[in-house]
Symmetry: C2
Subunit: 353 residues, 2 copies
């Protein structure tokens, strides 16, 4: 576990430098700064509402919730609501409660993502859940999921409930589809996009959309925010998938190669496979389809991706979706929050610069 791999040095100039986060990161911090009172209220609500007489629940949930998340999803809800003119507390606390719902749904999916299969266990890939066990991860995730619906019911908007329950179903569909495509190199890029739309972008989209709902904005603005979130989420996941092969581990605290070891089908793999020659394709078939991996295979995989510009292809796609996200913000007046949300799309890309 925890193979340390830095990006192989190569003379190929086509591949962008990867690993250092730059100024773009400020966008998310700037958003958190602008919304700091809302965000603090949200953090308090998260702690208050994950409580339960069954002590293991807040213990395990805190373990995940506190684990240094950037709160990007709840920040999106808060920012969308405020950009739409949602009023200050004490009148307005709905956006804080819905941001909490969104974070609970996200945390539940993280906990359920921790569940490992027998096959992975055999290959020594038990991860965060090793501390508490598969079953506890599942059940505490279920609790947070149920609790998020209780919060929505307290909020009282059937429109919000419809948006977030649909997102929850779509997330599960995306995750199942990911499971189905695992180890399958015949997966099309379209299908891969369906996976990441489901597993990641659907919640980004819903998180933004409910901001317009609480501010009682017209359907056109709801849709614009849903589009912004959807495109942002796709860009975010594309970059994440690139980083899994290209992160500077020391800088970003991300382990390189997890997706490779699991045989996960992501765009970097698909791009390298499709652009590869016969021997390269054999390599991908052995390592990804047959899960036969040797010690230096990850390094070779990184080398082939470099040669075929697979990371650049992935980041180019991400840049296109980020631009679409920014365009979706056009219907809104040019405020500091809007420019900040636009900058978040750049930040998403900057994680890989």
């Amino acid at each position: 576990m925890g193979v340390v791999a830095s990006l192989p040095v190569s003379s190929a100039p086509a591949e962008p430098p990867v690993g250092k986060a730059e100024g773009g990161e400020d966008a998310l911090s700037r958003l958190a700064g602008l919304l700091h009172r809302d965000l603090e209220a949200c953090n308090r609500a998260i702690v208050a509402r994950m409580d339960s007489p069954v002590a293991l629940i807040p213990q395990l949930a805190a373990h995940i919730v506190a684990a240094g998340g950037k709160r990007i999803r709840p920040l999106l809800t808060l920012a969308a609501a405020r950009m739409c003119g949602y009023p200050d507390a004490p009148d307005g606390m709905r956006h804080v409660h819905l941001a909490t719902c969104v974070e609970f749904i996200h945390t539940a999916t993280l906990l359920h993502d921790d569940v490992v299969d027998e096959s992975l266990l055999r290959r020594g890939l038990a991860s965060a859940n090793a501390v508490f066990g598969n079953k506890a991860s599942v059940l505490v995730g279920d609790f947070l999921f149920a609790r998020s619906f209780q919060l929505m019911v307290d909020d009282g908007s059937l429109r919000v409930l419809a948006i977030l329950s649909r997102a929850a179903a779509t997330i599960a569909e995306g995750e199942v589809l990911q499971l189905v495509t695992q180890n399958d190199l015949s997966t099309s890029e379209t299908r891969y996009l369906e996976v990441i739309k489901g597993k990641t972008a659907a919640l980004f989209s819903a998180a933004c959309q409910v901001g317009a709902v609480v501010a009682e904005r017209p359907a056109r603005e709801e849709q614009a925010l849903a589009d912004y979130g959807m495109n942002l989420g796709i860009a975010f996941q594309l970059v994440d998938d690139a980083l899994d092969y290209a992160a500077d581990q020391a800088t970003l605290g991300k382990t390189v190669g997890d997706d490779f070891r699991e045989g996960k089908i992501t765009l970097p793999v698909l791009a390298a496979f499709q652009a590869g020659d016969a021997s390269e394709r054999d390599f991908w078939r052995r390592t990804i389809e047959s899960s036969e991996q040797r010690e230096d295979d990850l390094d070779h995989a990184l080398h082939l991706m470099q040669r075929r510009g697979a990371i650049r292809t992935t980041l180019d796609r991400a840049a296109r979706f980020a631009a679409d996200a920014q365009r979706a913000l056009a219907p809104f007046p040019d405020t500091e929050l809007r420019s900040c949300l636009a900058a978040v799309a750049d930040y998403t890309l900057s994680r890989a610069r």
Copy 2:
């Protein structure tokens, strides 16, 4: 796996005969007969609403939903609604949709129950999920859970959403509490009752209560149905826990000893442990607390339960809760449905006669 064990023959007359289902089973069949059109509509809705473009979802869900469940929970919703005077279709289909929600929540918990821990895997206890894997069980469960909320949103009642989202959170709490008490013989009977109230009775209770909601009955009747369901669910789980040590496997298709092998703390174990002498307590500590089990330990456990009347103690408790369930039906007029619901409480007990 699949240790076959019939109840040890003993001269102790105190223990009731266990294993043959008797006339009482008719109550559930009778209910299904009375409500056959509603039940067929519910079965159709279950199939229709578990559909997804991701083929593995209906495949895996059907595997569980079709696996010969008695549909006791959706039947409770249908019966409660009808007893409360909910009108015939085409006016009335809400009870069918909510019965479907209830079955989806139940199926999701079954799927999540299938998830096994590394420790159990090591002891060779992977079960139904072996066909599809831990992860698929979790994700398809998540889908059904989300879908059940979508159905509730379509129904449009915030009251129903409040009742079922609270039940979902309570189920998760009960399951986590069960995990926490596992292998712990110092668990009190009160705490054990909290576990089964959560993991089983909360959904029985909610299933009944929403029947009163769709029929727009006053709070008193809602509460009466919630009480009926809660007591029925406790009785049901107590009998289930007894059957895990006392079922006639051939008759009931239940494997004896699963709870024992998992070190699950149930009333039969607690009763035998608490009534046992020093050497018996040592036996329970070794097998349940330390999970050190040898081949003939299950037989010895059954023998000790027989000696200490542990199964009778458990079934006596169940009978008390079943009687409470019947008493809770008092506010309703004496109709065939009411007598049928009362008989279901007897049926619950009869499974162990």
